[in-house]
Amino acid sequence: MKNYRNYWWLFLFFVLPASTNYKLEGFSLGSAGGGQVGSSNYSINGVAGEVGGNPIVGSSYGIGPGLVFAELANVPKITVDNPGNYYNKLHFVVDTQGNPGDALYAIAISSDNFVTTQYIKSDGTIGSSLAFTDYQNYNAWGGSTGSVVSGLLGSTTYSFKAKAWQGKYSETNWGPVATGATVAPTLTFEIDVSATDTHTLPPYAISLGDLYPSNVVNSPVYVWVSLDTNAASGGGVFIYGQNGGLKSVTAGYTIATVNGDLSSGGIAEGYGVQGVGATQTAGQFLILSPYNGSGNVIGSVNTLVNQIFTATTPVTSGRAHFLVKAKSSTSTPEASDYSESMTVIASANF
């Protein structure tokens, strides 16, 4: 008994094809059970009968396998670019070359011109094997908008090629190769020490001058920090000190760094920094607590690495500055060599 359920597609022919240019009013396959009808205005290729290679047998008839027209899908193309200056991603769009919407596509990727071939997985990452689930139709690959493959290496040119598969036995060969290149991950970091936003040369030094009891002294200059990175998760600026405060060797005493308001009576003496401002042209560069206080509220600069500025996304032309504040007390030993080496660090989260 033949399984006629395999011939459901024959009903497609009962839906008369039509477009804005033409409409097929009717057709006939003739006695041969199949054939091609065409005119100068239209053509239709129909297959009836044993397209699967199996005879169609009924109780009162039998049909042997006829001529099977196994038409391949068109070989797809692919376009690749890097519009976001990604260091780990590339953007691609599948060109269907007229394949129907149910056609499936697989995409190969290689950083060595397919000496080693990898494949874009259905989740947008790359892998060394191609599974059936990695065949996706046009819409799944993002349609005309395209999609992004991630997990790539920076500063690398990748070759892309695609193939299509429509129905049984109809997978095409790989299409033409398209290439795209990732950029390098970048982290630009600079510090300046100046009263105004200007470039200065090292060595960097800040003299607080005389510290008097109950008098909060501001540094006469700011520490300016530049941060520019395309790291996907942004980056940050960190500070820490060698002594945990202003240390005098001669007096054997350290004005300890503190968190809090130097103006308050509870803090007799202390040292720390206060973020003054942060700007950027893209992304968002922010001052973190406890360095974002006002007045004489400062954050400590201890021997641990403390983050003072942050960016959670790529930041362009980030520029921030902070100042140093200190206060002595009546019990602070006099000395002229109070000093602290404050290190400013930047890192990016790639």
Binding site: N88, S111, D112, T125, I126, G127, S150, G151, L153, G154, T156, A184, P185, L187, T188, F189, E190, I191, H199, L201, P203, Y204, A205, I206, S207, L208, G209, D210, L211, P213, V217, S219, S226, S233, F238, L246, S248, T250, A251, I255, Y271, L304, V305, Q307, S328, T330, E334, A335, S336, Y338, S339, E340, S341, M342, T343, I345, A346, S347, N349, F350
Partner: protein, 881 residues
């Protein structure tokens, strides 16, 4: 824009296949990124994407670091926002690859740990160095995700912050003590000790000690200042480490500059002495201060306690003539050896800067005896006095001029007299010379007792003062026209005894007689009020000017001859009081003419109790006629000149007759009458005296009024305050009744009378009170009673019957109970309404009003409310009774 910056480019060098990206982000931070800062640690932070079960972590260290098998890790003190990596543990090292065991990581959580050892030292990197490490998470032996991480190694990421904590005043020690007791007099030496120190942790570079003595302020002198104390040469001791003092006589300071004073050193001492002079010979007390100051590192200045000294000139008695001692020769058989004189070292008694300009300084040096050699060594440093001046014409008082100096320069000098060398003194030459016109057109006036002794303002004579002749202890005023005040900082008149043939001309040894500041009297006029020295002699008058540029200029402007006053004595030399002296002056027409006197100096005039005659005569020839009761009149011609003082007249005593006595006392009465009359006239010209009279009269009226009031009210006058108190204060008490018990016949108050308050309904005694000195009583009325009954009893009087009162009427009124003696059958007068409260208040009001007006307006207007007050008071007394 030219800009130094560090660009870290992280790129992948590996071409190996990589697994699916299971890492969302990863970071490796060196705790110290600058080169030369070793060792690490390294902070590793990772956040994953996939939710696979991680079992390991691997890190491929850049070859710039030397990896060894001693890798140690830590998860303590991670930055905020970083979770301690679960299950992290060191597994092994394979080349640059370090493998760690790991627990499962939750996607999106940032985990971290420190690699604290085994990674070696940082590479010695320059700017822009780029290093890549590789991190990867493992699931079993499979790499789940990996990333390359760029590590910037920057050499210029360090900011050195420096500060200085200066010493505080409390870190230093300074105190000043002296050895003076009580009020000082002239030529008295006072010793001072400055105690100093530092509690610092480090030495002080430098530590400067300064002692300062100020000019004296004359008590009641309206800001008049004088120099009453001088520095005693060579009295200042050395400070720490042999630091010599430097004395600035211009600014009256002693300075010790200790170049390096050690830490934690206290209780160091220096000493110095001052000596009072006799510049000020007035009777007022002069106060001057001495203070110390410590200046550390030119930052901290600490002042010592300030000592205020009091000085008062001790009057000198007129020297008694010393009898001539006739040398006697004792003849003995044994010849004595001629004593060898023991040389006494010359001491330098005083050093002054008497002149100073941009290029020269005049140093005054006084020595105890004429030395054989007198030298000044000077230079630009107290320790390098490279130049010297040797004085050729040496005396005990010398003025040495140092020339060829540079403007605006500090100079130091010492004085050496024979083998004695002084302290180091200093002065600063001014930058600009004093205007040359200071003395070129000096105009001056000298006036005493309205007598103009010298005045060249109208004559245009430019030569300053000539000879001035004045008696001893005579006030006089000098006035100069000087340059504008913006140039003159201080101008002084100095009066120094003139030396004649090296000997002071004064009878006593008081060479420095007077110095006084000139006071700007408006425009360019400067004047000073002086008093001639108590000792006769010839005094030189100098004008010394200090300008704001630092110049000191001194110039002699005249001579003052101080003489004894005219004196009238009897044959025994005793002064004759009340002798009449009439002066005549010799005119150019060669005749004697009566001298008219001046405003304060009358002619004729009269001698004081000691026979002296208070008069001032200018140079010239005079005749005087002296008469005194009981003495023979005498006429005497004399000449007043610097060489001839006022004469002393000796009168011959005559027998006393009745007529002479009557005439004497008549003259005395006449003089007394004239004096009293003139004084009364002067007194009544004073508005303040008239006001005082008004106050006295008002007080008298008040007293008489109160006396009358006490009589009318039968109250002793001394009880009036108590009575007023009762009226004004006590009646204010609430829920009380007040009243008075008086003698019905005499009206006098009865004290000690019993007053009983009885419940009108129960006939129960509720309160009991006794009258006071004024017959007054006061009782509280229980609030529950609407109607009360009162009875009054007194010893010797008939008791009053019970009388009923409404509560409200009791509280409003003051009760009067009249008691009669026991043998008097009279009636009682009670319930009398007391108007005294209102009247007393009104009286008080008008009295206060009067007092206020009396104090602020004229007494004439104040009389109006006074009259109103008394009229009202009279009416009140009248109608009350």
């Amino acid at each position: 824009m030219k800009k130094w910056f560090l660009i870290v480019m992280v790129f992948f060098l590996s071409t190996k296949q990589v697994a699916a990206a299971g890492l969302e982000s990863s970071t490796i931070r060196l705790s110290r990124m600058a080169s030369g800062e070793n060792p690490l640690p390294v902070l590793v932070e990772v956040s994953t994407l996939s939710n696979v079960t991680e079992t390991g972590f691997r890190m491929v260290v850049n070859s710039a670091w030397s990896v060894n098998s001693g890798v140690t890790i830590s998860t303590s003190q991670l930055p905020s926002g970083v979770t301690a990596w679960p299950g992290i543990g060191f597994s092994g090292v394979d080349g640059q690859q370090i493998t760690f065991s790991s627990g499962d990581l939750t996607a999106g959580v940032t985990y971290g740990f420190y690699v604290t050892g085994g990674v070696g030292l940082n590479p010695s990197a320059g700017d822009s160095s780029i290093y890549q490490w590789q991190v990867m998470t493992l699931v079993g032996s499979t790499i789940d995700g990996q990333q390359y991480v760029g590590i910037p190694i920057a050499a210029k990421d360090t900011v050195v912050v420096t500060g200085k904590v200066s010493a505080l005043a409390s870190d230093f020690q300074i105190g000043l003590t002296d050895n003076s007791v009580g009020v000082l007099s002239q030529n008295q030496q006072i010793g001072y000790t400055l105690t100093y120190g530092a509690n610092l942790h480090s030495p002080t570079y430098p530590l400067v000690l300064t002692a300062t003595w100020g000019r004296g302020s004359v008590e009641g002198g309206g800001g008049l200042t004088v120099d009453v104390a001088d520095y005693v040469v060579n009295s200042a001791s050395d400070a720490y480490n042999g630091t010599h003092p430097v004395i600035d006589l211009v600014n009256r300071t002693i300075t010790w500059t200790i170049t390096s004073f050690p830490a934690q050193t206290t209780d160091q001492k220096v000493s110095f002495s001052l000596k009072t002079n006799s510049n000020y010979a007035g009777s007022s007390t002069v106060h001057f201060t001495v203070s110390g100051e410590l200046n550390a590192s030119k930052v901290v200045t600490v002042s010592s306690n300030q000592i205020t000294e009091s000085y008062q000139y001790a009057s000198m008695t007129t020297p008694t003539p010393i009898a001539t001692i006739v040398p006697t020769v004792e003849l003995t058989g044994v010849p004595t050896a001629t004593p060898v004189p023991v040389p006494v070292p010359v001491t330098i008694t005083n050093v002054v800067i008497s002149g100073l300009d941009a290029t020269a300084a005049t140093v005054g040096v006084e020595v105890s005896a004429v030395p054989q050699k007198l030298q000044i060594r000077y230079g630009l440093s107290p320790t390098l006095l490279s130049k010297s001046l040797i004085v050729l014409d040496i005396g005990t008082e010398n003025k040495i001029k140092i020339e060829g100096l540079l403007p605006s320069t500090a100079y130091f000098f010492t004085v050496t007299a024979d083998t004695t060398t002084s302290d180091v003194f200093t002065f600063i030459t001014p930058s600009t010379p004093l205007l040359p016109s200071v003395f070129s057109q000096l105009l001056a006036t000298v006036v005493s007792s309205d007598q103009i002794l010298y005045d060249n303002r109208n004559t245009g004579q430019t030569k300053p003062l000539a000879q001035i002749i004045l008696p001893v202890a005579q006030p006089y005023m000098v006035q100069f026209n000087l340059p504008p005040t913006y140039i003159i900082k201080l101008a002084q008149v100095w009066l120094r005894n003139k030396h004649v043939l090296g000997i002071v001309s004064a009878a006593g040894n008081d060479p420095n007689s007077v110095v006084a500041d000139l006071i700007n009297s408006g425009s360019n006029g400067y004047q000073a009020y002086l008093k001639t020295p108590p000792l006769p002699g010839v005094y030189e008058m100098y004008l010394r000017i200090y300008d704001f540029y630092g110049n000191i200029v001194e110039q002699k402007v005249g001579e003052l001859t101080v003489i004894l006053p005219v004196k009238v004595v009897d044959q025994n030399g005793k002064g004759i009081e009340r002798a009449e002296v009439t002066f005549y002056y010799f005119t150019p027409a060669r005749i004697y003419q009566l001298w008219r006197g001046t405003g304060l100096l009358t002619n004729p005039t009269y001698s004081e109790s000691n026979g002296t005659v208070n008069t001032i005569l200018i140079e010239g020839q005079y005749k005087m006629v002296v008469t005194a009761m009981g003495y023979k009149s005498k006429t005497m011609e004399f000449v007043v000149s610097p060489h001839n003082g006022y004469p002393q007249v000796s009168l011959e005593r005559l027998p006393i007759t009745i007529g002479a006595v009557v005439g004497f006392y008549a003259t005395t009465i006449s003089d007394s009458y004239t004096f009293v009359l003139n004084s009364a006239i002067e007194l009544f010209h004073s508005g303040r005296f008239i006001q005082l009279l008004w106050v006295l009269m008002t007080g008298m009226l008040l007293f008489l009024g109160m006396l009358t009031w006490s009589l009318i009210n039968h109250i002793a006058w001394w009880l009036l305050p108590l009575y007023l108190y009762r009226l004004l204060i006590r009646v204010k008490e609430v829920n009380t009744i007040n009243g008075v018990v008086i003698n019905d016949l005499s009206g006098y108050p009865i004290s000690g009378a019993g007053v009983f308050l009885v419940d009108g309904n129960k006939n129960q005694v509720l309160e009991r009170s006794y009258t006071g000195l004024l017959g007054n009583f006061s009782m509280k009325v229980p609030a529950r009673l609407d109607q009360v009954r009162i009875s009054v009893t007194a010893r010797g009087y008939d008791p009053s019957p019970f009388m009923d009162f409404k509560r409200e009427s009791l509280l409003r009124a003051a009760l009067h109970f009249r008691l009669v003696k026991s043998d008097f059958d009279g009636s009682y007068d009670s319930g009398h309404i007391n108007f005294g409260r209102f009247g007393a208040w009104a009286f008080l009001f008008f009295t206060i009003l009067f007092g206020v007006m009396l104090s602020v307006v004229s007494t004439t207007i104040a009389a109006v409310p006074l009259l109103i007050s008394f009229v009202f008071w009279y009416l009140w007394i009248r109608f009350k009774l």
